[in-house]
């Protein structure tokens, strides 16, 4: 299915500021019907891409959060055991053969759809977000490959369930484990970097509506400088937004003003004790000086 829309514009109206490269990659993923694998540091907005895409193509977002030990019953489907037990009990007096009971309790009424099955059974192609695929086990990755190529699920008791529509698949990975080459080959690839200054300013002004233009610019310049420091955890876009919101809430008009308050709001950006200690008031004021 080909969707010819100006994806960049649509993303923008969904409050996601994408650069040309990302917009092109998303467009390509939609056109070719291929999954898009997003990699990048934590906090650069990988998950947001999927949400914005769902918004942009006006469809549902179905999310599967991966974790170690994720198995078929949490990802694909599960039988509704309580209901099954109840109906076995209820049909005890109806003189049904065990064959009939079995057919009944293993029918679709008793099937609980989990994200993967749900995604292929929607009327309109949803966006399927498979978040942090690297956290799932390798066995699951192999299974996922099968679903992503055939778009069908086999339930032993029911038979094969074909896809009603093909979902737009977005996978994200933080690189805690090397993904298999097979999976990488099946996907389009995009590496999400920290945004540059202009993009970050735009993101802040879009997401924090009350902010003044010069303040947005100062904030992003400060954060861009901060990212160059030797930190354990580099602040992402989400952190910048938190900080911007905090500063707006405190009615701070410029970073060069009340240094003490600014220092105390740095907890929005720095998430480890070592980082907090390494950005001393002197360092902060130096960065603020550069930003102003």
């Amino acid at each position: 299915m080909k969707i010819s829309i100006d994806i960049k514009k649509r993303l923008r109206s969904a409050d996601y500021v994408a650069d040309d490269a990302l917009a092109t990659a998303l467009q390509l993923a939609l056109d070719l019907g291929r999954p898009l694998l997003l990699e990048g540091a934590a906090g650069v907005g990988k998950t947001e891409v999927a949400k914005a895409l769902a918004n942009a193509v006006e469809t549902n977002l179905i999310r599967l959060q991966c974790y170690e030990g994720l198995d078929a019953s949490a990802a694909i489907y599960e039988w509704n055991y309580q209901r099954q037990l109840l109906s076995i009990k209820a049909s005890e007096h109806e003189q049904k053969s065990s064959r009939e009971i079995e057919d009944y309790i293993f029918s679709e009424d008793f099937l609980l759809e989990r994200p993967l099955l749900k995604a292929i059974r929607q009327e309109k192609s949803p966006v399927l977000l498979i978040d942090e695929i690297d956290r799932a086990d390798e066995e699951f990755e192999a299974y996922l490959l099968e679903i992503l190529s055939d778009f069908q699920v086999t339930v032993p008791e029911l038979g094969t369930l074909e896809a009603v529509s093909i979902p737009h698949v977005i996978l994200t990975s933080n690189g805690t484990r090397e993904l298999s080459d097979a999976l990488r080959r099946r996907c389009l690839y995009f590496y999400v970097d920290f945004p540059n200054l202009e993009r970050e300013v735009e993101i802040i002004t879009r997401r924090v509506p009350d902010i003044e233009a010069n303040m947005a610019e100062e904030i992003s310049r400060f954060v861009q400088e901060l990212r160059k420091e030797d930190l354990e955890k580099t602040p992402g876009v989400a952190e910048t937004l938190d900080w911007a919101a905090a500063l707006v809430g405190l009615k701070i008009k410029s970073l060069t003003g009340d240094l003490e308050t600014i220092q105390s709001t740095l907890i929005c950006l720095l998430k480890t004790e070592t980082d907090l200690r390494s950005i001393t008031p002197e360092v902060a004021s130096r960065l603020a000086g550069k930003a102003a």
């Binding site: 092109t24 030990g69 055991y81």
Partner: protein, 399 residues
Amino acid sequence: MAAAVTSANQPINGYPLTRQMAKFIDHLRLNNFVLGAQETTLALQVVRGAFLDDKKCQHQLKSLLTGCVEEWRLFDDLYEAYWYSSGKERHQWSSAKSFENRTKASLPKAWDQHFSKNKGSNNTGPQVEAEGEGDAEGSASGRLIATDKSAMAKTDLRQFVDPNEILQAELLAYRLASAMRYRLSRRYRLSRLGRKLDLRKTIRRSLGTGGEPFELCRRRRPDRPIRLVVFLDISGSMKHYSRFFLQFVKGLVCRWMEADAYLFHTKLIRVTDVVREKNTTKAMTRLSVMAEGFGGGTKLGESLKQFNDQYAKTHLNSRTVVMILSDGYDTGTPEQLAAELKKLRKRAPKLIWLNPLLGWENYEPITSAMAAARPFISYFAAANTLEALSAIEPEIAKL
């Protein structure tokens, strides 16, 4: 705009573009991109007529043809080099072919001591060589090799020169690796002795008894492989042992083990892929190429910092055992070493330190680096003889 691009604007299914694209894909393959014929077809389909919008085309092909960060970062240069003939040569060393073409003679000196002795491997029987064990040059050879097994196990590893004996190290490493391969998983599997009920199976079975769940099916967590990260010190002070330890590391980082290997000296390099190479000679040759530029003393703290910054987030998890093979002679500050080890231990639950010197008589681990590192080590052992190495197997299994 370069000539190649203009000609590509011509007939869509015609000769030029198809051929150009095939050559471009070939160009990428030379730089170790994994691409098949399917990708070529797709790439053609994607750029069809879109060459006018050049930047967009580049973005599209980038997304289509890359698969990991390394390729992602390399792509733009390769793209420009090809379509605009901007004259950037592909990276010489990234091509596998160039290794094979290198002759032994052109190998850098740094690794001579580790495998130049290989040549004598066909000689059978005991060899007698000039005594030169203690000095800087003579290195690993220079002793009458013991043929008696038990005696061999007690021989200090510096005296090993026979490749067969070195292979023993690899076998031993295999044993060690298998001893610590499994840890508990968070995931449940069907199992007779499990502690949790498996409802799905139970209900299925209960059908035969009219819905009365007589037979309870259970499940439990199966064992999961642990991950191993090995650091091998290849500085001057360790050089008598390096050859042996390299083989040992090669055994640990075997196919079925989730493992990572790093060499360090004054800086750190990741050698996992190289060590996994089946052909030993080839692996050693590649290692020597990678170790180019190494020299000077050991900077343990600095190397670990590099690891913590670059790899730790992605290569360590809660089931990781970190193994350091080093004598602890460090030219960096002990404070930095302690700080980096502390960071490392936050991510990895176990740290094993194997020190070849510990087996020496009268040796006390009192170098400032060792003293700084001790509090962070979960298991500290000697590693100067095969016997000492086998002794750590049960310990490791316990970790």
